[in-house]
């Protein structure tokens, strides 16, 4: 899943949209998807293209939860904390996973192997509690199951 900066041409992404302020979020989303984070160089390029002042682009990049200004880990794990999942104990599942990976809260491990994030509902509430590991839904997940899945990724 995770691609490196070398594979993808940032200019190609920039050229996908007209140079107007209203495309700021589109560009940031595509860059986030391609690189897993938005580097300050990328942000500058986006600003040049759209004509949005850097301070404003920075405000946008920090306001929305899906943007990250720091690189993310090789493996991305989302634990849903939506209401349906919360009632089925997803809070504990997230805590347990983070403890196991040595994280104090959502974030990336020092070795850049894992990033754990929490989300508010993935729209799969009927399968609560749900986690998503590298894009794969894990329906009716439990702490032991999730840890096993994550462990396997680390062993690979």
């Amino acid at each position: 899943m995770a691609q490196t900066a070398i594979d993808i041409d940032i200019d190609e992404i920039i050229e996908r949209y007209p140079g107007k302020p209203e495309y700021l979020i589109f560009l940031l989303q595509d860059i986030q998807a391609a690189f897993n984070y938005i580097s300050s160089e990328a942000l500058t390029l986006v600003c040049d293209h759209t004509g949005v002042p850097e301070s404003q682009a920075y405000a946008v990049a920090t306001f929305y939860n899906s943007f990250s200004l720091e690189p993310k880990g090789e493996n991305l794990i989302h634990v849903c904390l939506g209401t349906a999942c919360h009632l089925k104990g997803s809070g504990l599942i997230a805590e347990n996973l983070m403890r196991r990976l040595g994280l104090d809260g959502p974030g990336t491990t020092e070795d850049l192997k894992y990033t754990v994030e929490t989300v508010n509902c993935l729209g799969a509430c009927a399968l609560a509690p749900v986690a998503v590991v590298n894009g794969q839904y894990q329906p009716k997940v439990t702490s032991p199951k999730l840890m096993k899945t994550v462990q396997k990724l680390g062993d690979e």
């Binding site: 989303q29 946008v60 609560a128």
Partner: protein, 628 residues
């Protein structure tokens, strides 16, 4: 797979007649009595592995080959609502309903059901109370009690094929509006239908349109709110995934009615499949001339663009959503000016929810009177709910407005596992409240829910039982809103965390009864001083749980006990020596090494080491770990 016209060439429909002619041809080309296998490819069933089931069914059919007289087609559809039983396979025309199907079942389905017309007993739905096996969709209480208007085509059509949508009647309402009605008449029809917005507040849709329509000429916009921020709800996701054309059609009608040539759909980024299906629907509609210039020869031009959300709950609020579409920080701005006067890019705009738009399509197709005949006097039509939590039949249900809460939860929902009642039902998402069992006979409509201290919201309906703690639930929603507050106005920025901190103390068994009274005055201040409804409704979670479950709050504070066994600081884990087999699963799972015991002998937990992580509880296969 048969190539459809749109995949090969442009087939622009130039008039209502051409549309209806094509529809007629498409319908004639398909024999409704022909056997067809439907596999659910909604997000839920795919997560449960339905793609593998489809492949296996294809292979099994191919292998059976000549043994089958008429080869059945396989159709993949959007969500059937019963995701908790997925993957689902339905065999038409009899509607034989198979649940929790695995790829390994494909062979048996083909051999028994397709070839010999027999049931595969093990895949049938079992009534949770009577244990009776039910064969067809119609007879399953989960479906029998529903009235599907918005969801009518979902699960019937392949959402990626416009021809299939046309067969089911898509774009008939838009065609009628564009070719036979004046914009004014369209608005009148929507007003007369009594449709109220499904996004939360229940504002009359036609009246909102009128406000924007009265600005004559000039650039205007219509928008679709597909941000579906309510955590624990997936109605809009299912509609977009399963019948995207219903949304597109509704927006065409709205654009025509108010005089807008551009529409925007703002979809939350967590819904990739919905985005994919919408994009396909837009492409196909353009190819057929149902979007773009001079739609159906009416002279009306209209097109739709998709914006992906970027993960901010407050962007579901209308003014914030419009800022976000403009590429800005999604903060609400004070109203007035209302979006109907100055909305997106400062132009008159109308924003409606996904389900509202889908209803518009149905209203124009079937008539305002038909719609006004559904539901109650002040809440017309149906409502889709995401029924989740402690209920046997978890899933998406559509019911007429005014139906009793009891019917939804106990009949359609099949009741609460291990209990003859629910403790509470939470509606309205973070802005809503909890309704107790005493309210089981409450009619579910906009006004009754508000009178009972909750609200309709977008349709999340979360059933709770005795193992769910009301203090924890209120704390959960406040924590959610605290995190999602944009921080623009201070009653919300400061008040919500204060409410949450007070509840935090309660959940630790601290605080006093006076603190409860203070919550009320704080709640009033937040309600009065917040700019948008995020802050304005934030206290509801506390107020509604206090209204019905004050004793539970007091038990936390006075007895330092969490009756539901949820609040971490007030519970203890222990192992029942009678049940424990000494398998050591819990001891291996415990991160604290708090569990000791000899192999094959009952184990014990050292409470002083325990951090209440619940790992032991989850890893014990025998149910020996208890929470008190």
């Amino acid at each position: 797979m048969q190539a459809t016209a749109k995949d090969t060439a442009e087939l622009r429909l130039g008039s209502l007649e051409e549309l209806e002619k094509l529809r007629g041809e498409l319908r004639a080309a398909e024999d409704p009595n022909h056997t067809r296998i439907i596999v659910c490819h909604g997000t839920g069933c795919i997560a449960n592995g339905s793609a593998g089931v489809t492949e296996a069914l294809k292979a099994a059919l191919a292998a059976a080959g000549e043994d089958i007289a008429v080869m059945p087609g396989i159709k993949t559809t959007g969500c059937h609502g019963f995701c908790s039983r997925g993957p689902l396979v339905i065999i038409k025309p009899k509607n034989i309903f198979y649940q929790q199907v695995k790829p390994g079942d494909a062979e048996e389905i083909v051999q028994k059901t397709i070839k010999a017309g027999e049931m595969v007993e093990s895949l049938l739905y079992e009534h949770p109370q009577t244990g009776e096996k039910i064969e067809t969709t119609e007879d399953i209480p989960f479906y029998a009690g529903q009235q599907r208007v918005v969801l009518a085509n979902i699960g019937q059509i392949d959402p990626t094929k416009i021809d299939d949508a046309l067969r089911a009647g898509a774009y008939a309402g838009a065609a009628k509006a564009l070719t036979n009605m004046e914009p004014k008449q369209v608005i009148e029809a929507v007003i007369n239908s009594g449709l109220r917005g499904r996004g939360g507040a229940g504002f009359p849709t036609g009246i909102k349109w009128n406000l924007a329509a009265k600005h004559e000429g000039g650039q205007k916009y219509v928008l679709c709110n597909a941000d579906e921020g309510d955590p624990g709800a997936f109605m809009d996701r299912s509609v977009m995934e399963g019948d995207p054309h219903a949304v597109v059609e509704g927006m065409i009608i709205g654009g025509y009615a108010i005089g807008a040539d551009t529409g925007y759909v703002y979809v939350r980024a967590e819904y990739p499949l919905a985005i994919k299906h919408l994009e396909k629907a837009l492409r196909d509609a353009r190819a057929y001339g149902l979007l773009g210039e001079n739609i159906l020869g009416s002279g009306f031009n209209f097109d739709i663009r998709i914006n992906r959300g970027a993960g901010a709950f407050v962007c579901g609020e209308e003014t914030a959503l419009m800022r976000s579409v403009e590429g800005k920080v999604g903060e609400p701005v004070p109203r007035p000016p209302y979006p109907s006067d100055k909305g997106l890019f400062g132009k008159p705009s109308v924003l409606n929810n996904v389900e509202t738009w889908a209803n518009v399509s149905r209203i124009l197709d079937k008539g305002a009177d038909w719609f006004a005949g559904l539901g109650t006097e002040k809440s017309k039509g149906t409502k889709v709910f995401a029924l989740v939590g402690k209920v046997n039949n978890v899933g998406l249900v559509e019911v007429p407005m005014g139906i009793k809460l009891r019917e939804i939860v106990m009949e359609i929902g099949g009741g609460v596992p291990g209990s003859d009642h629910f403790k509470a039902v939470q509606t309205g998402g973070p802005s809503g409240g909890c309704l107790p069992w005493q309210d089981a006979d409450l009619p579910v409509d906009f006004d009754s829910l508000i009178a009972a201290g909750s609200m309709m919201g977008s349709g999340g309906m979360i059933v709770m039982d005795d193992r769910d703690c009301m203090v924890d639930v209120a704390k959960y929603f406040l924590g959610f809103l605290e995190e999602e507050s944009c921080g623009k106005c201070f009653p919300c920025r400061l008040g919500v965390p204060r409410l949450r901190e007070t509840l935090n103390r309660f959940s630790k068994g601290q605080g006093t009864v006076e603190d409860i009274d203070d919550l009320y005055s704080l709640a009033e201040a937040i309600k009065a001083g917040s700019l948008c409804a995020l802050g304005g409704t934030a206290p509801n979670a506390v107020l509604s749980t206090l209204r019905y479950f004050r004793d539970e709050y007091e038990t936390h504070i006075l007895e330092h006990r969490c009756p539901a066994g949820v609040c971490k600081d007030l519970i203890t884990y222990s192992i029942d020596p009678e049940v424990c087999t000494g398998c050591r699963a819990c001891a291996r799972a415990c991160p604290q090494n708090a569990i000791t015991g000899e192999k094959k002998k009952p184990h014990t937990i050292d409470e002083s080491l325990c951090i209440r992580c619940g790992m032991c509880f989850e890893s014990c296969k025998f149910g020996a770990v208890q929470v008190q």
